[in-house]
């Protein structure tokens, strides 16, 4: 409990409070009157309204499209499943600039949809919503699917034997067990879309603006800290309300479930219904996720002299005519991986301890702590980044120019994922197992290792995958911190896209493809990681 508290206090609460304080406090004292002033502005009201409804719509749409996917990934066996699971997580790490490109290729003028049906969706709200689904599909599939795959199918079968229809069995047995995971996934998707930045800018055109965009403009461009502070407080209030709602819906605490090894619950599709479902899900994934990614890959090979590896070769040198970097772009891969490893380690440590603390205790204080851990998802990166600047500026903690700030900032976003993924599973572990182990003479550590670890190992890996992916793709905070001599992949892509010239564009596409590959491979490796002792098979 102490470690996560300290981590959040130092690297989140303190910087954010400082920057908000700087905005609201002048020489004449606190300016709380600013609150009313800013909120009364019609343009701000518009921004608030749009932010909220697009986030709600995006969340609903994501659940609608991704829940069948969660079922398919959890319960059905099909060739290439592992690979596809990694692929659907790839969007999560792509810089929004790149996603914008891919989506325009799909929805924009002369895009796939335009060719097939003569429909153009760019600069409409549909493009924003679909891109949000593209980004967050994996969140639902991984959090809900992760738990679903461990639910004991025999409970459902028992209900069927006792005379419940297929639907009743699902509603009475599966749904209650899944509810916490579904709620957690919705919450995360909502927070993500609520604080959406790049997607809205690029696909919505300048007519749409979210709270996050407004905070960025007020802070980074106009330096109007008091307006930014008010907006940040509004963000806090909104997230607070959402978290309260979330707590209320999951009032029935996660119950102890019978968790089994996921390898045993999945089976080949049986009957036409399951086959249709599988086909439908694969089609959705193909159109919504694989197609935009494929466009990027195609463009990375599409050199003027026909298809080839020209752009990839160009990545190896800093460029004779003037490189964008002080190092070859390819080195960004190494930087990104190093940062991601560090960030994952921090996020797992902090998030794991927090989740453990939350499982052990109840009470209002703990619930507050749980909510607090979620806050970084809904607070703008620029607020945190600028907060770092004015708080971490004195020895021994002058971290402003230190590389450690990058993984720290990334871990901040990773921790909520770790907590949300671990918590349902940790809470589902039956305490009596631990007690039994203790009675049999196991030390608390040994009991944890023999009882909890095997059960939560899968959740731990999923959590690590998320933290890793978040870190790989994180751009907002990194762009303020990244040192010139060690750009991360997304930063490198953004810099390449920021210059004219065919070679730069091609290199940006090639680097995005490498980013996707790095992400997919890392996730596959994580999925396959199994401690050498297979004590968890029972």
């Amino acid at each position: 409990m102490a470690v996560p508290l300290a981590f959040f206090g130092l690297f989140f609460a303190y910087p954010v409070a400082a920057i908000v304080g700087r905005g609201l406090k002048t020489d004449t004292g606190w300016q709380f009157g600013r609150l009313g002033e800013v909120l009364a502005r019609p343009d701000i009201a518009d921004v608030l309204w749009f932010t909220t409804w697009q986030a709600l719509a995006s969340t609903a749409l994501t659940l609608l499209i991704a829940l069948p996917g969660a079922y398919v990934f959890a319960r059905l066996e099909f060739p290439g499943k592992q690979l596809l699971r990694a692929v659907v997580t790839v969007p999560f790490v792509l810089p929004t600039v790149v996603v914008g490109t891919a989506f325009l290729a799909l929805l924009g003028r002369g895009g796939l949809l335009d060719e097939l049906a003569g429909v153009r969706l760019d600069t409409t709200v549909w493009a924003i919503l679909l891109a949000h689904v593209f980004f967050n599909y994996a969140v639902v599939v991984r959090t809900v699917g992760g738990l679903w795959s461990q639910l004991d199918p025999r409970q459902e079968e028992a209900a069927r034997v006792l005379g419940a229809g297929r639907f009743a069995a699902w509603r009475r047995v599966i749904l209650p067990a899944l509810a916490p995971a579904v709620a957690a996934a919705s919450l995360m998707v909502f927070l993500f879309t609520f604080s959406s930045f790049g997607v809205v800018l690029i696909l919505g055109g300048p007519a749409y603006s979210t709270l996050e965009v407004e905070v960025y403009r007020q802070t980074a461009q106009l330096l109007d800290l008091s307006t930014a502070a008010v907006l940040t407080m509004v963000q806090f209030a909104a997230i607070g309300a959402i978290l309260a709602l979330h707590a209320w819906t999951v009032r029935r605490r996660e119950t102890a479930l019978r968790l089994v090894d996921p390898g045993r619950t999945a089976h080949r599709p049986r009957g036409w219904a399951q086959r249709t479902l599988l086909g439908g899900v694969l089609l959705t994934v193909g159109l919504l996720i694989v197609a935009p990614l494929a466009v990027l890959v195609e463009r990375s090979f599409d050199t003027p002299g026909g298809y080839g590896l020209g752009f990839y070769r160009a990545l190896q040198d800093t460029g004779a005519g003037g490189g964008t970097f002080l190092v070859p772009p390819l080195e960004a891969v190494g930087n990104s991986l190093r940062y991601a490893l560090a960030a994952t380690a921090i996020a797992l440590l902090v998030g794991g301890l927090a989740a453990a603390a939350l499982t052990r205790r109840g009470g209002r204080f703990v619930r507050g702590f749980d909510a607090m851990l979620m806050l970084p998802l809904g607070v703008s990166a620029v607020t945190v980044g600028f907060g770092f600047l004015i708080t971490l500026d004195e020895p021994p903690l002058d971290l402003r120019t230190s590389w450690i700030l990058v993984p720290l900032a990334q871990a901040l976003v990773g921790v909520p994922f770790v907590v949300r993924t671990m918590l349902p599973v940790l809470r589902a572990v039956d305490g009596r197992l631990r007690e039994a182990a203790a009675v049999l003479g196991a030390s608390p550590l040994r009991a944890w290792r023999e009882v909890d670890l095997p059960l939560v190992r899968r959740a731990l890996l999923i959590a690590a995958g998320f933290a890793f992916a978040v870190s790989l793709g994180e751009f907002g905070a990194t762009v303020f911190i990244a040192r010139a001599d060690r750009p991360t992949l997304p930063v490198a892509v953004a810099r390449l896209l920021g210059r004219a010239g065919e070679l730069n564009y091609g290199q940006a596409m090639a680097l995005s493809t490498i980013l996707m590959l790095v992400c997919a491979v890392s996730l596959l490796v994580l999925e396959r990681l199994r401690p050498d002792k297979t004590s968890g098979e029972f």
Partner: protein, 365 residues
């Protein structure tokens, strides 16, 4: 508040724990801030925006001659980078800041983040660029934001490409221009300022009404305008961009040549020289710099012939000194903008926000 102290203590312990923990993930050669075996005064730190670039060998040469090691920090776009310096006034992250342009100059000077320093070699800088008589900032480069056109598009249709702002509202150029959002993009703002400079504080809104009636398209940033919508760029060709006119830079055609695959004999794009706004970028010695002497040497270096001649191919901007020669790529494929539009930094600082608001209400909504 003993609890805060306790928390701070715990936090410190945690942070240190985290540092050691992640050091395994990081690489050993990178030392945390404050560490290292070079004494502080031998390192000089340049804080800049994302576009800063210099050839490695040029920087190395400066390091050898001066005995300083240069560290470069890039922190976001020009606006964000400057605002971070304003926030950390008095305890800066570095010694020199590069990248304040004339649209932001007043904000930087009013906030007093720079120490006056008259750089060695300032006599070589063209006097029209020396905007601050107190020498709190030193001009380093200039560049023009102009409308670029797709040569092939106009040649195929036998229409003359537009050359001036007045041309852009003519019916033959209807639905051809894409511009960036003035609220979020620096070329977008520059182009808006060009119209303010040309038509005055009264007339520019009328001009934009006409431009809107003539089908101008607004997208969020340069990347999108140039790489997606502009018909002559590599990305635009692939994305079937259908706008042959885009707000970009006067240096974009040479860049298209340089990064062509293979390099074309002639740039595929041209510049409408009567649509330009001139950006001048400055550097300044930061108040409270840890290494003031090193900082001064670095500012001198930024206007040295060596750096000035290296700049064009690294950042695609023009030198500000009289003696710096342009590379062949620029003399062959670039244009000289004789009369860029101009608005004084003070006027920009005073009106920027209301202009952007008016522009947004007029063009975007």
């Amino acid at each position: 508040m003993s609890t805060t102290r306790k928390i701070a203590g715990a936090a410190l312990a945690a942070a240190l724990g985290v540092t050691t923990l992640s050091a395994c993930g990081g690489d050993a050669e990178d030392k945390p801030a404050g560490g290292g075996d070079v004494p502080k005064s031998r390192t000089v730190t340049l804080v800049s925006h994302d576009s800063f670039n210099v050839t490695d060998s040029v920087l190395k040469e400066f390091e050898q001659q001066s005995g300083y090691t240069v560290k470069v920090l890039k922190s976001g776009d020009a606006g964000a980078a400057l605002n971070q310096e304003i926030l950390t006034k008095g305890t800066p992250r570095g010694d020199v800041f590069f990248g304040v342009d004339n649209t932001l100059l007043s904000r930087a000077l009013d906030n007093g983040i720079f120490t006056p320093y008259e750089a060695k070699g300032l006599g070589e800088v063209k006097p029209e660029y020396v905007l601050d008589k107190e020498h709190r900032v030193t001009p380093v480069d200039s560049g023009d934001i102009c409308v670029n056109y797709d040569k092939a598009y106009f040649a195929d249709r036998k229409i003359a490409p537009p050359q001036t702002l007045d041309d852009l509202v003519k019916p033959e150029y209807k639905d051809l221009l894409v511009v960036e959002n003035a609220a979020t993009s620096s070329p977008g703002l520059g182009f808006m300022l060009a119209t303010v400079g040309k038509y005055g504080e009264e007339g520019w809104k009328d001009y934009w009404s006409k431009l809107k009636a003539n089908g101008v398209e607004v997208v969020d940033g340069w990347e999108q305008a140039y790489n997606e919508r502009f018909s002559a760029s590599a990305g635009g060709k692939k994305a079937k961009g259908d706008r042959p006119l885009v707000v970009s830079y006067a240096s974009s055609p040479p860049v298209e040549v340089l990064y062509g695959e293979p390099q074309p004999a002639e740039a595929p794009t041209g510049v409408a020289t009567g649509t330009c706004f001139r950006q001048i970028e400055f550097a300044g010695l930061l108040k409270g710099a840890k290494n003031e002497e090193g900082g001064k040497a670095l500012v001198d270096f930024l206007i040295s012939k060596k750096f000035q001649e290296d700049m064009p191919l690294q950042m695609f901007v023009n030198p500000v000194t009289k003696d710096a020669a342009l590379p062949e790529l620029f003399t062959k494929h670039g244009v000289v903008v004789e009369k860029p539009e101009n608005v004084t930094p003070e006027t920009i600082a005073k009106n920027r926000e209301q202009w952007v608001k008016a522009w947004t209400a007029l063009v975007v909504k």
